[in-house]
């Protein structure tokens, strides 16, 4: 009798199982393949050879496809394999959850069999957990142990690693405990699986948990059990969970042809890399080329001075970044006395305090620190804690440093662990700034994570790529996608060397084409300075030079440029402003200590998680707050904030006094309702209904509706809509009114006046995916508000049940339009007041250019308040566009809301103190068109363009840097132009 062998080749592991004809398990194993798929499979076969006789073989798994095709072995899709094995070994199970390296799956067995797999852009997998462990700087096992000690869980986006990072980083920086974060990460994986995969279908009954992560991580198991409310009897964690799929594959092997293992081994050994992968030129053709390259870059170095003998003044620069801390102490003539570079490990404050102490002990009494300056995420904290004199936004710090190395510099690119920053420089001032968005990261830390996954140190891994013969083309999008590309390359048999070189190139391409959005390398400029820790990697530097076709300047202190720039800033500003630096003295430092505690701020409905650090002498540093209230300050007032004005005006619209006799209508305050609420409120109140609004948007509201979200790559406002609908259903309204509108109102500033597809038809998606919605409780008529007659007719039909006379509908509709006009009038008038008042006070004005629904505080995350706290007046696009001229643009100007943005931008081109910050929702395909055009309008008149991408991410840290950079650049520009 032949034995049945199942081999499961996943993205990170190879699993094998042997069963006999009766289904008895004779052997199973699980091992990481470190991309050496073929070798690892051969190794397994070798072990299995100890069983005598012939075999029937079947392969499964995402990376097994290529192997099976070229090795002429049978293949079964892995979910199918699992399904078979479940039915045989666990016939009483109702559902199974399987998490793999890069896939997540749910299999419903009873009540209508169904199998689901994550989409191509979904995290919540083993790779995600690995990535997060790297971020926490612990092993995954350690992370699991930590998770079991957690006391609280923070909300973390789990859709993809890049998003989660931006949630976790600030938590780390605020000093949240690693245990809590570890538990939050597992919870995020669970949420992602339950909401993203199950999509409304409840996972209940007896549930089987499969795959490596669910076998190895107790914290993850516990989170699943708790979330799904499963007791130990209903949550099954089988002993063979990691190799369960291979067991299934073995069962499917029944139909394979019988053959000897020798034959199979011979076939697989003979396989060479497939022809399908795209390769590019090697980074270096020869050793000599590399030596020459090294010599050229060695020229850009700073002279050193000996701290242990130096006597005199010094300036300290600190770059407190998101993952690393950098310090530099320089002499007035810019010699380096001391420098330091270190990973944060979550405790940047301790590191800086320790380093300053070290400087004191090395310097003795000979050196006087005349000034100190800090830049980066930790700026405010360092200043509060250590008495640092100045803070400078990191873009300015980097710019100052680059300028020192090349006064003619016209382009600076900085690739750090977590972010990419690029500046164009004109007339020795920053002309434009580009930062990476949440979804095109692919930064330095990616190589690091990947090197670790291959079991190597980053230096060793990168070095391997230098002389790779055929670097693989890996695409240039976000890290999650790159992971898949790597997987594909591995499948095709690419070597580690080729993959290493390919990763370096893809990081560079990502930066040039996706972040900078350069069309040709010439656009970058002629004098390029590259910096950031990632460029210390020779492979990345070389890839950059090859891609741009230019020799660039990489200072030897590339990783310390922020700190150097900060030190330069301290030097420039200390002389005039300070008698002495206010930095903690040696003595004060010795007794330095602080206390950290976190609370939930009750200042407003946002309920921010606020972290409070208390220092000696009662100084405090508060973080995590979105507004001044959290920091114990009073808000500056809404006088100069159109966003706040609009939001409050909207909330005040339905009149609670008006008790309609006909019934209660629910209006979901999201998407188009942010523009048309006045219309529909007045309409229904006139018709004799009471109007009830949905709950205010919040993260909780989002979770409430998350299980009905059909497409997780839709924009956040759309996904929030699901929660609004749930809240109205819970409030027990008679019906929800939410019209479909292909066309918006014609405002005569565009060729056509469409809504975007999501705004236009979202009710269709809600109806199809929320089972609580019926024809009776959800009215979604198709309307074109420009056509009064047809609108009256359609509304009459939609509200048939209430027997409203057409004349009443007509009257109500007119009342509605009058209310909407009044509302828009108030907003436009507010815009006028703000412009005039800002002019009078000499304030800068930012038009936060987005869609009406960006006024929702949950969607804009309080960016308007942030601007207010930076001393800037805030306009909205609908408060501003009436003051702008009409525009003729390159693109087809055919959406009502987008046409407003172009006109708002036009206004900014004519006013010195008016600027545009464009708010873009992640996943908004239409803004792919508008952003380039708004940028074009502004830049054609020498205005800065700033874009902020928003999503469910709550982290304002990056946004703050972006806004401060913009304001600093505006200031510099003004200085330059002498006004």
């Amino acid at each position: 009798m032949a034995k049945l062998l199942g081999i499961d080749v996943g993205s990170t592991t190879v699993k094998a199982s042997v069963i006999d004809e009766e289904g008895k398990i004779l052997y199973s194993s699980y091992m990481r393949h470190f991309s050496r798929v073929r070798e690892c499979v051969l190794g397994e076969l070798e072990k299995v050879r100890s069983f005598s006789g012939s075999f029937k073989i079947c392969v499964t798994g995402s990376a097994g496809l290529g192997l099976s095709q070229r090795g002429k072995l049978n293949f079964v899709q892995e979910v199918q394999a699992a399904f078979g094995a479940i039915k045989k070994f666990y016939p009483d199970v109702d559902a199974a959850v399987e998490l793999g390296g890069e896939d997540a799956k749910i299999i419903f067995v009873t009540g209508g069999a169904e199998q689901r797999m994550n989409g191509s852009c979904a995290g919540g997998t083993g790779a995600f957990i690995d990535q997060m462990a790297t971020l926490l700087d612990v092993s995954v096992e350690e992370m699991d142990r930590l998770a079991l000690q957690a006391e609280r869980v923070y909300p973390i986006a789990s859709r993809c690693g890049v998003f989660a990072k931006s949630d976790i980083q600030p938590l780390l920086n605020q000093g949240a405990s690693k245990a809590d974060i570890a538990a939050s990460i597992f919870q995020a994986v669970v949420d992602q699986t339950v909401s993203g995969l199950a999509q409304g279908r409840r996972i209940k009954g007896k549930v089987l948990f499969l795959g490596g992560p669910l076998y190895f991580f107790k914290g993850l198991r516990r989170a699943f059990q708790r979330t799904l409310s499963l007791d130990d009897e209903h949550a099954v964690f089988p002993e063979n969970a990691p190799c369960f799929m291979s067991l299934g594959a073995a069962m499917y092997a029944e139909n394979s042809k019988e053959e000897s293992l020798e034959a199979v081994c011979a076939r697989i050994s003979a396989l060479v890399g497939g022809g399908e992968i795209a390769v590019s030129k090697p980074l270096f053709g020869s050793r000599e080329e590399y030596e020459e390259f090294l010599a050229r870059h060695r020229e850009n170095d700073l002279p050193q001075a000996d701290l242990e003998s130096y006597e005199g003044d010094a300036y300290l620069g600190i770059d407190s970044g998101s993952t690393t801390t950098k310090l530099m102490l320089i002499t007035p003539d810019c010699r380096v006395l001391y420098s330091h570079y270190q990973s944060n490990n979550g405790q940047p404050l301790d590191i800086v305090a320790g380093q300053i102490g070290r400087i004191y002990s090395l310097a003795g009494e000979r050196v006087v620190i005349r000034g100190a300056c800090v830049t980066g995420y930790g700026e405010d904290m360092m200043r509060a804690a250590l008495g640092i004199d100045f803070g400078v936004v990191e873009t300015m710090a980097h710019f100052k440093a680059a300028l020192y190395f090349n006064p003619d510099v016209d382009f600076i690119i900085d690739i750090g662990g977590q972010d990419i920053k690029c500046f164009k420089v004109k007339n020795r001032a920053i002309d434009s700034i580009m930062l990476n968005e949440a979804c095109s990261s692919g930064c330095g830390s990616f190589i690091q994570t990947f090197a670790k996954a291959m079991g190597m140190e980053i230096e060793e891994f990168s070095r391997l790529g230098l002389f790779a013969k055929h670097p693989v083309e890996l695409g240039s999008r976000c890290t999650v996608f790159m992971n898949s590309s790597v997987k594909q390359a591995q499948k095709e048999g690419a070597s580690v060397e080729d993959i290493s070189a390919g990763l370096s190139s893809s990081i560079v391409k990502n930066a040039i084409y996706k972040v900078i959005r350069a069309r040709t390398p010439e656009e970058l400029g002629t004098h390029i300075v590259v910096q950031g820790g990632t460029f210390l990697n020779d492979a990345v530097l070389r890839a950059f030079e090859l891609e741009t076709g230019k020799n660039v300047v990489r200072p030897a202190i590339a990783g310390l440029m922020g700190a150097f720039g900060a030190a330069l800033y301290a030097k420039e500003n200390a002389a005039s402003a300070l008698p002495m630096s206010g930095i903690l003295t040696r003595k004060e430092l010795e007794s330095f200590s602080y206390e950290s505690r976190s609370i939930v701020c009750k200042g407003c409905t946002a309920h921010c998680n606020v972290n409070i650090l208390t220092f000696p002498g009662g100084r405090r540093y508060i973080s995590g707050n979105k507004c001044e209230r959290g920091a114990g300050l009073k808000p500056a007032g809404d006088l100069l904030d159109a966003y706040k004005f609009k939001y409050e005006l909207l909330l005040s619209l339905p009149d609670p006094e008006k008790q309609g006799a006909r019934g209660v209508v629910g209006l979901p305050l999201q998407l188009v309702m942010y523009d048309q609420l006045p219309l529909w409120t007045a309409f229904f109140e006139t018709c004799g209904f009471s109007v009830v609004l949905s709950e205010k948007s919040s993260r909780e509201l989002y979770f409430k509706g998350q299980h009905t979200v059909a497409s997780d790559t839709a924009c956040y406002p759309a996904k929030l809509m699901h929660g609004h609908i749930e809240s109205l259903l819970d409030k027990g309204v008679d019906f929800i009114f939410y019209p479909c509108e292909s066309y918006n109102l014609d405002e005569h500033s565009s060729v056509n006046h469409y809504n975007c597809p999501v705004v236009a038809y979202y009710p269709e998606l809600l109806k199809a995916n929320n089972e609580r919605l019926t024809k009776e409780n959800f009215l979604m008529p198709y309307l074109d508000l420009n056509e009064e007659k047809a609108t009256i007719k359609t509304l009459h039909k939609a509200l048939m049940k209430y027997k409203l006379p057409q004349s009443l509908i007509k009257k109500a509709l007119r009342a509605g339009f009058a209310a909407m006009e009044q509302f828009h009038g108030q907003i436009v008038e507010k815009g006028r007041q703000i412009l005039a008042e800002a002019e009078r006070q000499g304030k800068q004005v930012v038009i936060l250019t987005g869609r009406p629904y960006h006024a929702d505080p949950e969607i804009n995350h309080g960016i308007n308040k942030l601007l207010d706290s930076l001393g800037v007046a805030v306009l909205s696009e609908d408060a501003a566009f009436e003051y702008g001229n009409k525009v003729k643009v390159n693109v087809l100007n055919q959406w009502t809301y987008h046409a407003r943005m172009y006109r708002a931008a036009e206004l900014a081109t004519r006013r010195k103190n008016v600027h545009v910050v464009q708010l873009v929702s992640f996943g908004c395909g239409i803004d792919a068109v508008t952003t380039d055009e708004v940028r074009h309008i502004l830049e054609s008149k020498g205005k800065l363009y700033t874009q902020i991408k928003i999503d469910e991410i709550n982290n304002l840290g990056v946004v703050k840097i972006r806004l401060r950079s913009m304001l600093a650049a505006i200031e510099e520009q003004m200085k330059e132009h002498g006004n």
Partner: protein, 422 residues
């Protein structure tokens, strides 16, 4: 407000126009989408003095050019098309001073109508002299359109009808052919024959030509075998274009399936009927509305003819009748959903399920807005109507790997095979 009285500020760039003289001097490049259809269309355009070439270039260079010139969040189809144009112009095969490019514009509320400015911007960076032509029926780009008269339009319509029929016959024959390569051979012969018909003016002898095609394919010997049928629906470009969908049809054939690809004419009729729906739903009418009504009636009649002939004179399954598709749509979604491929997607899904093709790949560009609603959003509603529906949405994107896509399709196929055996 005083919008009407505000002056208009011009922020647009200059771009080269396609002048009448260029007809004589310029080669016009069009991106490939449906090889047989486009071969016929190329021929028709040639008869009207436009020297057209259909681009077949593929590979990483095409995608790289696209990535370079197209915004990260713009659609994948735009990226493919622009990549093909740029790659072709750089290949040295075409003189940039004597080359233009052509693209269609639907004029709908989806960003696809903005391909033209995206192409212009890409060309401006490297080939600023190359003009872009638009093929649309929405009155856009009046200076840069083809000069279409009634006869020209009719010829284009006939070419699409024939192309659809060929595609359907080929797909129903190729998986079952006894002699490998015979279907491909017959297909080639039919295309040549049809080109001849266009040249000699007999293209409008519709019945005769349709019967010829039916006869040609009926002659091919086939095996009586039951195979898994897989329907392909979705965004128009990735649904059809091998470059866009990583050769989905070939993949399905290799997986021993029969691909069922709905007609291109459905999409055109969908666009036409949306204009009529606007007038019916909202009372939006203008002077073109009656013209659309006439066109629609003509198209319905012609399509009905092909279907009837197929039914009567061959063993082949006819494609869907458009009026029936509309009824299918009404059961799932409102015909008001008219951006992108809108209601056509669930309509085709439902029609496929109804006719025994319960396995469906819904091909969509990553992050396609209309597809959130009409693709992923509506598939649940389709499944409610047809519980055996086995639909897999697949995202196409320059960086979504083939492994990932194929793995998901394979999952769908595994279920399909099981259902087939039941």
């Amino acid at each position: 407000m005083e919008t009407e009285t505000k002056p208009t500020v011009d922020f647009s760039d200059d771009f080269p126009k396609f002048t009448r003289e260029m007809k004589k001097t310029h080669t016009i490049l069009i991106p490939d989408m449906l090889p047989r259809h486009f071969e016929l269309l190329r021929h028709v355009l040639g008869m009207h003095g436009y020297h057209v070439e259909v681009l077949k270039n593929e590979g990483s260079k095409v995608i790289d050019e696209g990535l370079k010139h197209v915004h990260n969040d713009a659609c994948f189809p735009a990226l493919c098309v622009i990549g093909q144009f740029l790659d072709a112009l750089k290949s040295g095969e075409y003189d940039p001073d004597r080359t233009a490019v052509l693209i269609t514009q639907s004029g709908g509320g989806c960003r696809a109508s903005n391909y033209i400015p995206l192409i212009r911007r890409a060309l401006k960076a490297e080939f600023p002299q190359v003009p872009v032509l638009s093929l649309n029926f929405a009155g856009l780009e009046k200076e840069n359109g083809l000069e279409l008269d009634l006869k020209f339009l009719l010829q284009l319509a006939y070419a699409i009808f024939y192309g659809d029929l060929l595609m359907s016959l080929f797909n129903q024959t190729r998986p079952y052919e006894v002699n490998a390569g015979e279907s491909e051979q017959v297909l080639g012969d039919c295309v040549s024959h049809l080109k001849e018909c266009f040249s000699n003016g007999s293209y409008h002898k519709f019945k005769r030509n349709v019967l010829d095609l039916l006869k040609a394919f009926s002659k091919i010997p086939v095996k009586a075998e039951k195979k898994v049928k897989v329907g392909i629906v979705g965004e128009i470009y990735v649904k059809y274009s091998p470059l866009g969908n990583s050769h989905l049809e070939d993949f399905l054939l290799a997986e021993n399936c029969e691909p069922v690809v709905p007609a291109l004419m459905d999409f055109i009729m969908y666009c036409v009927v949306n204009n009529l729906n606007d007038s019916k739903f909202y009372g939006r009418r203008d002077k073109t509305t009656p013209l659309f009504a006439v066109a629609y009636r003509w198209l319905v009649a012609k399509q009905r003819k092909v279907l009837r002939l197929t039914e009567k004179y061959s063993r082949f399954e006819p494609q869907h009748e458009f009026e029936h598709l509309r009824k299918c749509a009404d059961a799932v979604i409102n015909q008001g959903v008219k951006m992108g491929e809108g209601w056509l997607i669930p309509a085709e899904m439902a029609a496929l399920c109804e006719t025994g093709t319960e396995n469906v790949v819904c091909a969509q560009p990553f992050g396609c807005l209309p597809n959130h609603i009409a693709g992923k959003g509506a598939s649940r509603a389709v499944k409610k109507l047809y519980p055996r529906a086995n639909i897999v949405p697949v995202d196409y994107d320059p960086s979504a790997t083939k492994v990932n896509q194929e793995n998901r399709i394979k999952l769908m196929l595994a279920t399909a095979r099981e259902n087939l055996q039941r």
